[in-house]
Symmetry: C2
Subunit: 364 residues, 2 copies
């Protein structure tokens, strides 16, 4: 069979399915709900596989993802705070359509407008987003969390859903011991927040957070009721460098295929995959096949990457295919419209990433 | 009128049209053909505006761009070397469809297969891509250029089209004097290559290259016959920092609109635009409006950016709109499916970026 045109994402379905099963087993064994984050894959087909494996629902980072993946999972949690009238209208539309939806807020000023936008009788769970100390989103303190839970609970049009506590940067700490210590430090605030909510009569029905990097640590800590892991399905260089505990539990399922388009000099070749094909935010990709694995990739503009070859190795020829491990899977997926699928190295079809980007044309 | 949902690209049509006219005037005044690079905009509507202003055609970086923008310009030059059978088939399909197409090659091994893929009687111009010293694509030496021009000319199915000499990294040297000196150094090789081709009987009918950063310098040097400038239509922080000579000739036409989604602490707010909305390869975007202009943006993951506010300034509120200048326009456009248009600050519609990404679903 013909291999697809490069640059392209290639997804190994066997490895994907094993990764999905392993995280589902982990959550089940620890009595945790698993709500995989769909910001990683943005794909209905993958959300459906995760649902079949027992996921309680999915997380989405954007309303566009939620709209595109609605119906592919039991329920959806929108993990980014919603603040605008436009967002409230789109949420109301999803609720009207029968989607079991939850959102997070971190500012009381949005609560009345969000509630007012909902259809009569529509049910929307609203969670308090608590900042673990990242300085990104979430209320600053347990006191603020109680006040916001009170504002949500006081509005009969909303259902108080609990709290979100997502430690983003801690996911990527390479050392397991250091990652465990960092989460333990963050969890002091989480425990205080849960206690403050309980004391005020707002015991959180759901405490959601965690990720691929901390899935084992979060299970040990026993504070979260639900895991939001995303990247475990694909893996990437960033998570590949993390000691996730025990034998490496997840396999590299997602790769980037590129082609050698220039080989005019000894010592390096140029690939057709640059910053438009591979996200740059977590460094350079690594070579997995098709060129010496110690070759070093460097970004060379939107369309090109340069592969510096180790001394004494044989350069791949013009037209040769090189397989790379992306450094950061989520934003790399966002650059591509679809996944090319393979089993046993053979192409078996494509899946679109329906939720990528910010949506199709909508007239303002 | 309602402003579009953020994060989104906003394009000021008045500024765009003035930028298009200014570069067209520059090329005309210097007797140069202008073949704007569509990798910047990936838009049929903008290619048509450039054509109306006198462009001899457009450049495309990918076959997907060429396929999507075919017919929106007099002719298309594909500026990335083509090497695979799949690419040859797509080129043949464009030629069969009557598109006036030119491609570049930098390796003799591809010439016979490219020629063999063409339809009988199909006309394809093939240019020799010459590396100016960037180590990205192009033949290494004048001798190699002559050999490749010979291979192209010897094949009756191909039309020798001249040479491409694109100095990419030099475009972004901030100082005009240093940029001029860098191009002068590169142009030694260009002059030698032209002379070698002429001496061998392969006088190049077209010498194409240049960009927004060197459009004035290239006109002075007198070696190029055709300019490939792209970013001048939008501008960005990277080019905004370049002294392009004389009064700033091009205006910032493209901006990124974001919304404050969190403001839990004094001193900073969080925006809904992160690495999925703004390309990271050229640094952080700058604030143009909606927040203190000395605020400092920092990427905070796929969906978020943090805006650190200068001491003593008033923070924008949750829900407020902030206007940013992207650091690098081309890959930022690639993250978005469309342009929201405005004139005089009022929304006036949308244009798709048809050529972004790597294409719609094609079964392998």
């Amino acid at each position: 069979m013909t291999l697809p045109t490069t640059p392209c994402l290639m997804l190994d379905l066997d490895a994907l399915e094993r990764n999905i099963a392993r995280m589902a087993d982990h959550a089940r064994a620890h009595g945790l709900a698993l709500r995989p984050h769909a910001k990683t894959h943005k794909s209905r087909a993958i959300a459906e596989l995760q649902s079949k494996a027992g996921a309680s629902g999915i997380c989405c980072a954007t309303l566009h993802e939620a709209e595109q993946l609605a119906g592919a999972a039991r329920s959806i949690l929108l993990t980014s705070p919603v603040v605008t009238a436009d967002a409230f209208a789109r949420i109301a539309s999803l609720v009207s359509g029968g989607i079991d939806l939850a959102v997070v807020v971190d500012h009381a000023s949005v609560v009345p407008a969000l509630a007012a936008a909902l259809p009569a009788g529509g049910r929307l769970r609203v969670l308090v987003d608590v900042d673990p100390g990242s300085g990104r989103t979430g209320v600053a303190s347990p006191t603020d969390a109680v006040a916001l839970a009170g504002a949500i609970s006081a509005d009969a049009r909303l259902a108080y859903g609990g709290l979100q506590f997502y430690c983003g940067s801690e996911q990527h700490i390479a050392s397991l011991a250091e990652r465990r210590a960092a989460i333990a430090a963050r969890n002091v605030k989480l425990a205080e927040t849960i206690a403050a909510l309980e004391a005020a009569g707002f015991a959180p029905p759901v405490v959601t957070g965690g990720g691929t990097g901390t899935h084992g640590i979060d299970a040990e800590a026993g504070l979260l009721t639900e895991l939001q892991c995303g990247s475990y399905i694909f893996m990437d260089q960033d998570y590949g460098a993390c000691d996730l505990g025990g034998a490496a539990p997840f396999e590299q399922a997602l790769t980037l295929h590129a082609t050698v388009v220039s080989a005019s000099y000894p010592g390096f070749v140029t690939l057709d995959a640059g910053t438009k094909a591979i996200a740059t935010d977590a460094g350079e990709p690594r070579v997995l096949a098709g060129a010496p694995i110690d070759s070093r990739y460097r970004f060379k503009g939107d369309e090109f990457g340069r592969l510096d070859l180790p001394a004494g190795t044989i350069a791949p020829e013009v037209g040769a295919r090189v397989v790379l491990m992306p450094s950061h899977c989520d934003p790399t997926v966002n650059l591509h419209g679809l996944y090319h699928l393979q089993r046993g190295g053979e192409p078996v079809g494509v899946w679109p990433a329906e939720g990528r980007g910010y949506g199709a044309i909508r007239e303002p």
